[in-house]
Symmetry: C2
Subunit: 243 residues, 2 copies
DNA sequence: TTTGACGATAATGTATACAATCACGCTGGG
DNA sequence: CCCAGCGTGATTGTATACATTATCGTCAAA
């Protein structure tokens, strides 16, 4: 098939290589739930769906497996990782250790423009929190993810950032806002503001503590976020519609 | 307990698939220093050396990259990750959070036979510590790695174990014993014994604290463990000193 | 009816050919 | 002497053919 990769779109996707595209696409499908926990992933199927060959799909699968988003058994394929309630709790406890640590370090490293960016994200999140549509929820989740990423990156340690990212992304932190009560949403927004203030004051202990509070307060909602693994049943009957 | 993730076990005999073999082989070479930090890894070269084709080598490279042992840039190949002193310090601080947490959980889950295994490993380590040859140092390092792995596994959470493993293995914890003073070695051995005793008592707080002490005490030696990245210049004119 | 073995089928594992890309040195001009 | 443009070789990226393995239905025997 012709590649037709003559265009270089810097904004729509930094995915230059097919492997990268496959990785980003699959990761997104897992995180937003289109590929539910427990689902068996078949390389050929995915390859056709994404529009690349099996090789880059395999690259992406291996990568996602190493990152913990997939369970992988040699000769038996990959399935979307299933998270028990206990394991989700563990992840939040770990986040509650790692992110405050990153915040503590970030406090002495963060630049003014990053603080500004955090403030803008706070405004965006507060605006989205006032409405209640699904689209707003998605906006909120996306802004929240960017918020945490900026803080983590401000610690100026790629390895640290990588490790925390692995801990964070694992059990779909994204969809947690759907489980928040209105009060919890409001509190979460106030937490964000306080984290920014603490960082703006370049106060490591305050930054860490505010972030810790923020994450620990989310565990309740996380417990309510049940992830139902897909039934083991493979879809025998082929779905007629392609696409 | 479901096995869940396909675990790599470096000591579990010959690997089944070529990808697994390549992964284990490369990982070992990185951890023991045969592939020094900064070294550029060429797929064809590695493939010939290991005796497989490029495909499984690429699988292994992608996996190691996701685990943070390699830096990877599209179209520019993979290099062994370089760890700055600051980053190594971060890793130990993170270990000092994660492993005590695992120990805390393990305290209420560990089986008697695992406690026994830990005691045996303590004896092995103490025996090796008495001598001072390089082989004994390797024995010590290997037993130490197994010790920590047993504790982590006793927490009965594959995802938790995976995360901690990523944090632990990253900057070659193995070679740290080479930097210990005799007093530090002795103290480390006593720490191990205390961790086991705390676990045997099924005391979560004690187990966590003993483990935290153990890891924090190692940071000094870790700081002394400088990792000199290989010069950027490949095998061109190797050591041609001008002048 | 149950159970076990067996074989067809579909998936994954591996190798290899080919395309795209990058690094580097060469050459020619200023 | 310096620098820019370009070609060449090496290296990675992708696709595909083939080998190997697991899965599951079928059939026969107890």
């Amino acid at each position: 098939m012709p590649k037709g990769l003559a265009e270089r779109d810097p904004e729509a996707g930094p995915a230059q290589t097919a492997s990268e595209r496959a990785y980003i696409e699959l990761r997104q499908r897992i995180l937003d739930g289109r590929l539910p926990a427990g689902r068996r992933l078949k390389e050929t199927e995915l390859a056709i769906g994404i529009g690349v060959s099996r090789t880059p799909v395999r690259d992406a699968l291996r990568r996602l497996s190493a990152e913990g988003l997939l369970d992988f058994r040699p000769n038996a394929g990959a399935t979307v990782a299933v998270w028990s309630e206990t394991q989700i709790e563990h992840v939040f406890r770990i986040r509650a250790m790692l992110e405050p640590y990153a915040s503590e370090i970030a406090a002495s490293q963060i630049r003014d423009d990053e603080v500004e960016a955090l403030r803008r994200l706070c405004a965006i999140m507060e605006e989205a929190a006032r409405r209640e549509t699904q689209a707003d929820l998605d906006t909120l989740a996306a802004a929240n993810a960017r918020f945490h990423r900026i803080v983590i990156d401000a610690a100026r340690s790629d390895h640290l950032a990588k490790l925390i990212t692995l801990a964070m992304d694992a059990p779909l932190t994204l969809r947690i806002f759907g489980r928040y009560t209105p009060e919890e949403v409001g509190r979460s927004m106030r937490h964000h503001r306080e984290v920014v203030d603490a960082l703006a004051h370049r106060d490591p202990a305050w930054s860490a503590s505010a972030m810790r509070t923020h994450i620990l307060s989310a565990i309740g909602a996380a417990r309510r976020t049940r992830i139902a693994p897909e039934a083991e049943r493979p879809e025998r009957a082929a779905v007629g519609s392609r696409g």
